[in-house]
Amino acid sequence: MSSVEHIKEGRSRPSFPWAFPSSLFGRATPGAGSPAILALLMLPGLIIVAAFFAIPMALVAMRVADGPDGLATYFVILTNDRYLASLIQTLVMSAGVTVTALILCGVCGLFLVRNRFAGRNVITALLTLPLSFPGTVVGFMVIMLAGRQGVIGSVTDALWGEKIVFAYEITGLFVGYLYFSIPRVILAVMASAEKLDPQLEEAARSLGAPTWRVVRDVILPGLMPGLVSSGAICFATAMGAFGTAFTLATDIDVLPMVIYTEFTRNANIAVAAALSIALGAMTWAVLAAVRIFVGNGATSGTGGGA
């Protein structure tokens, strides 16, 4: 019985002379380290986050307020026509990419989960191929596809004697973000689709529901958490990404490019900082909203899909 004694001993933690650190952590549970040990465990991460993230971010925020226009600089994104136009363009493009990716991947993801046929696994593997391509490589893929030497140009040249080239403008960026988003969304759709209960569908069908109603009332609600969280990631990526635009053309007027030019060419640090903070806040808000939404809708997997 001596082991039981030990467990009991483990349960009654020695009371700590300083109550503060233990109040930082949650309820004491048997077997976990003492508050001092927990604090020590957290130390490296805490230092990294504080010194290289929290403090620099606070300094940037202060730097903006110290600028010639003071706190008004924060609203420059709304008051300056050029920034506002680029914000709207970025928002519209990001939303467009998100919707397109969700529709395409929704159909294909569901199809891949529902049907078994030769080559299915190969197709799935190929669709998730670009998962770890950085933005620059994605940009290069767009050039391969729709650039001056691209496939689309060569095909249209052979067919109609006219080269269609759209890589070096906003359309190319749209295609690039779609390229980047497809693997992510398709994985999320397939993960949710596997959890769908086919019996619900059978029931709906046997009650005489037409296909579109089955899709609207049974399949879509089931896929929703996956669609929403991967859609949010699509949107956030398209809002803040920089590598693809940088590879395609430096004069595409999306917000990250504007920030980059303000900082490097015009040395307008206050404005660049204000724009980055605005962009970061918007992206974070979208992700946080989705996390709350999905978190209430479904308690799926690792918690916090976004």
Partner: protein
């Protein structure tokens, strides 16, 4: 199973999507070993461009690998204990800290880089060394490590394991390294693969943080795309594919194995 027009139209769309993904990859891989892209494959195959890329960018490629390894070490040392505390003793403060920790994933790399530049840009020895880039990579990848490890730790019965070990007289450090860490291995492995992959491909932050002497692989890629001939850019991309592919395959194998235990690795959050 009945196969009607619906099946074939969906199959068609899936194949089109697949071609959209694969065709540029194949084209760029071929362009990297073609003598002259403008003349096409008929001009013959060569490894000349690959060697030329190696001559030009070997340093960037090696630096990238070095930074990825250093980044892995730092995120392991900082991330695994952090995940343990977050899972073992959750509290309101801890959740706040977790939010702060994951913020660098949500906010654009450009903003993060700007903050680092404004704060530490004046520290010349640090600014011009590869450690500056490492800092950015650690900030960006640490949340992935923590989340991946925390997911596994949350799924295992840590309380029971630790109580058991404690009842056998194991002290905290013995329990941590002898019981907790080995049990969290799948999560640590998944996190490690994720961190290395992300670090090798990171561009948004790195482009702002790099100096002419501290160029990483993706910075070199951007440079090659902008100023070298198409064959060189393609050959460089091919080298990148060869580097990243084993990592990707390992990651997916791990994810497949994990999903059977109803766990999903979040691969979906890295930014472009």
């Amino acid at each position: 199973m009945r196969r009607d027009w619906k099946f074939y139209s969906q199959l068609g769309l899936t194949i089109v999507l697949c071609l959209f993904i694969v065709v540029p990859v194949v084209m760029s891989a071929l362009a990297g070993v073609t003598v002259n892209v403008f003349k096409g494959l008929s001009s013959g195959l060569t490894l000349r461009w690959i060697f030329e890329v190696w001559d030009l960018y070997a340093q960037s490629i090696l630096l990238s690998l070095g930074i990825a390894m250093a980044c892995l070490v730092v995120t392991l040392v900082a991330g695994v204990p952090l995940a343990y505390v977050l899972v073992r003793r959750p509290s309101r403060m801890m959740r706040l800290f977790e939010e702060l920790l994951t913020l660098p994933v949500a906010i654009p790399g450009l903003a993060l880089a700007l903050a680092l530049l404004i704060t530490y840009g004046g520290v010349s020895g640090y600014r011009s060394s590869w450690l500056f880039i490492l800092t950015g990579h650690v900030l960006f990848t640490l949340p992935f490590m923590v989340r991946s490890v925390a997911a596994v730790m949350a799924a295992m019965d840590m309380k029971m394991l630790e109580e058991g070990a404690a009842s056998l007289g194991a002290g905290f450090w013995r329990r941590f390294f002898g019981v907790i860490v080995p049990n969290a291995k799948p999560g640590i492995l998944a996190g490690a693969l994720m961190v290395v992959t992300l670090s090798i491909g990171e561009f948004n932050l790195t482009w702002m943080l790099h100096t002419p002497l501290t160029k990483t692989l993706p910075v070199g890629l951007a440079d090659a795309y902008a100023s070298m001939r198409l064959e060189i850019g393609s050959a460089y991309t091919l080298i990148f594919f060869v580097l990243i592919m084993p990592l990707l395959i390992a990651m997916q194998a791990l994810a497949n194995r994990g999903s059977r235990a109803s766990r999903r690795i979040d691969t979906a959050e890295d930014t472009l």
